[in-house]
């Protein structure tokens, strides 16, 4: 089975791109399934089910969805293999722009959209920088100039990525993406001992553990304080 991870900010068009791409696989007699990871709730599984795609859904609840993803990815892969899939695609939304679910040797796709603004590429961390393929959506609603500027900014933060443009509504570009996804020679029968491309940040502070009160005395564990510019300068002067 081929395993592929698709990630990207919420509403960037991940589901739309996956659906249109699977559609393009139809003629090739390949069976494709999806594992959808989200935080609180998702309707995406219904979208996949409706068009007859085998789907598993995982909700991380109070956990970081990317941490939850990596803790459950092996189970998902085993499910895919048991279901006789040729291709298993995972869809997960990056929430903090800092974690990324990509695994070494596993094709990694990041979906971003033109509407998110030209400064977005530099705000997204490893999720964009470490992807093999970056798909840009919603080109149908912005000008040629904005598409060109956006794509050049994406390529600037990830110079080695293949950048593709897909219209999530009409599927234009999805066939082209599909030609890059399936590799007969690849066979992932387990992910055990594979590694993340980039470590996820530690996030164990008292608020992770359910603290609700505000104040320094309640803050324990991995806490990071904001640097207030004026205070920093005062400190420097008094040194």
């Amino acid at each position: 089975m081929n395993f592929i991870t698709v990630s990207g900010p919420p509403s960037s068009g991940k589901t739309a791109v996956i659906v249109k791409t699977i559609d393009a696989f139809k003629d090739r007699q390949l069976s494709v399934g999806v594992a959808k990871f989200d935080c609180l709730s998702t309707e995406d599984d219904k979208i996949y089910e409706k068009i007859g795609i085998p789907v598993q859904k995982g909700l991380s609840g109070t956990l970081c969805p990317d941490h939850y993803f990596i803790s459950n990815v092996e189970e998902i892969v085993q499910w895919g293999i048991k279901s006789n899939l040729d291709i298993l695609i995972s869809e997960s939304a990056g929430l903090c722009n800092r974690c990324s679910p990509y695994i070494k040797d596993i094709l990694a796709i990041c979906v971003v959209d033109n509407l998110s603004g030209i400064n977005t590429p530099k705000k997204i961390g490893p999720m964009l920088k470490m992807a093999d393929i970056v798909v840009i959506t919603k080109g149908d609603i912005v000008s040629q100039a904005e598409r060109e500027v956006f794509a050049s900014r994406v390529q600037a933060v990830n110079p080695s990525a293949t950048v593709m443009h897909i219209n999530g509504l009409t599927g234009q570009g999805a066939f082209e993406l599909s030609t890059l996804l399936y590799d007969e020679k690849q066979n992932h029968d387990t992910l055990i001992n594979k590694e993340l491309r980039f470590p996820m940040p530690a996030a164990l502070c008292s608020y992770c553990l359910g603290e609700t009160r505000i104040g320094e005395s309640y803050q324990m564990g991995n806490v990071k304080k904001i640097k207030i510019k004026e205070l920093e300068e005062k400190k420097k002067c008094s040194l």
Binding site: R98, M130, R153, Q155, A156, N158
Partner: protein
């Protein structure tokens, strides 16, 4: 081009002098080399990227340096590439949706030509345009093949993000950036590595204003432009700044621009124009019409003399319509 180690041992000042675009790359990665003028790239990045900063920025120093090397390579390829002049596109027949072979031998489209594509919804117009954009090589659902300048096309057209074969203009496109017109054009010009930015901005302003019914100023916010002004700016900008030799147009509506002039501007910049439209005025401005049926190219019609007379009629009507619009806008009594 140098190896990773050579890159690391370069002095930062020297690197930025040779490759000024590196500054932009670093700033996109939220890194500034200010204060590291006399240090090597390797030292500086190691110093800037301490554990905390690396974690904050989500950056790995080694990977960043690899990406920097790749970026320099991409940019040199982009800057050095002699612009590929696309003189002709050739479509070689494939099959329609039922698998029947298309019945033409080859279809050659030349630069300075306007070709229209017509056919009902779902007939395969967008697929034909997509075949061209992807320079199909018998590997799309239509099995068509596209040649550039009569020859097999370079694979770069598929994947080079800086040099796409096709630019697109359509009805639904809007500006979403919140910038004045001049800064907007400047941003685009910078991303295309244009050297004479001020002149380019002025030139695009002139052309756009010539197209738009109502004039607009360089400091107007792009989001506050009228429909016609936006369309005019989009066309002028695409014609002049976009490197793509082929322009696909999905219906340019009537909204306050001179469409004949718009097409002339694209042609004068040596673009090859393909237009999917059912508007008779636009369709008759083309030299040929490709008729699509059931996914296949059904026939190619060359615009006849008689049809050109109809175009004359339509243009007169169009002019009349424009005059009335202008009068209305100016608060005059319609005459």
């Amino acid at each position: 081009m140098f190896s990773i180690n050579e890159l690391k041992s370069q002095k930062t000042t020297q690197l930025l002098e040779t490759y000024p675009f590196v500054e932009d790359f670093l700033s996109n990665n939220n890194i500034s080399l200010k204060g590291y003028e006399n240090r090597t790239v390797g030292e500086s990045l190691n110093d800037i990227l301490d554990e905390e900063t690396k974690e904050d920025l989500g950056i790995d120093t080694e990977i960043l340096i690899q990406q920097l090397q790749k970026h320099i390579e991409n940019m040199l390829a982009f800057l050095g590439a002699a612009e590929t002049k696309v003189e002709t596109l050739t479509i070689l027949p494939g099959t329609d949706k039922s698998g029947n072979p298309e019945k033409f031998k080859e279809l050659v489209i030349s630069k300075n030509e306007i070709i229209c594509i017509v056919g009902p919804t779902g007939s395969g117009k967008s697929r034909l345009l997509a075949d061209i954009e992807w320079v199909a090589n018998r590997d799309t659902p239509t099995h068509r093949k596209i040649l550039i300048n009569g020859k097999d096309a370079d694979k770069k057209w598929r994947f080079a993000s800086s040099e796409k074969l096709v630019a697109q203009l359509s009805q639904n496109m809007n500006f979403v950036m919140d910038l004045p017109v001049n800064e907007f054009i400047q941003l685009h010009a910078e991303s295309r590595m244009v050297t004479n930015i001020t002149e380019t901005v002025d030139h695009i302003m002139d052309v756009a204003n010539d197209l738009a019914g109502e004039k607009f100023q360089p400091d107007t916010a792009i989001t506050s432009l009228s429909g016609g002004q936006s369309r005019a700016l989009m066309i002028a900008d695409t014609a002049i700044l976009s490197k793509s030799p082929v322009v696909l147009i999905d219906e340019i509506e009537n909204a306050g621009i001179d469409r004949k002039k718009a097409l002339d501007i694209l042609l004068s910049e040596n673009k090859l124009v393909l237009m999917s439209t059912h508007d008779p005025t636009l369709a008759l401005m083309g030299q040929k019409r490709i008729v699509i049926k059931n996914g296949g190219i059904h026939k190619v019609i060359t615009t006849t003399e008689q049809e050109k007379n109809i175009l004359g009629e339509l243009e007169t009507l169009d002019k009349r319509y424009h005059t009335l619009r202008t009068q209305l806008r100016q608060g005059d009594i319609l005459l």
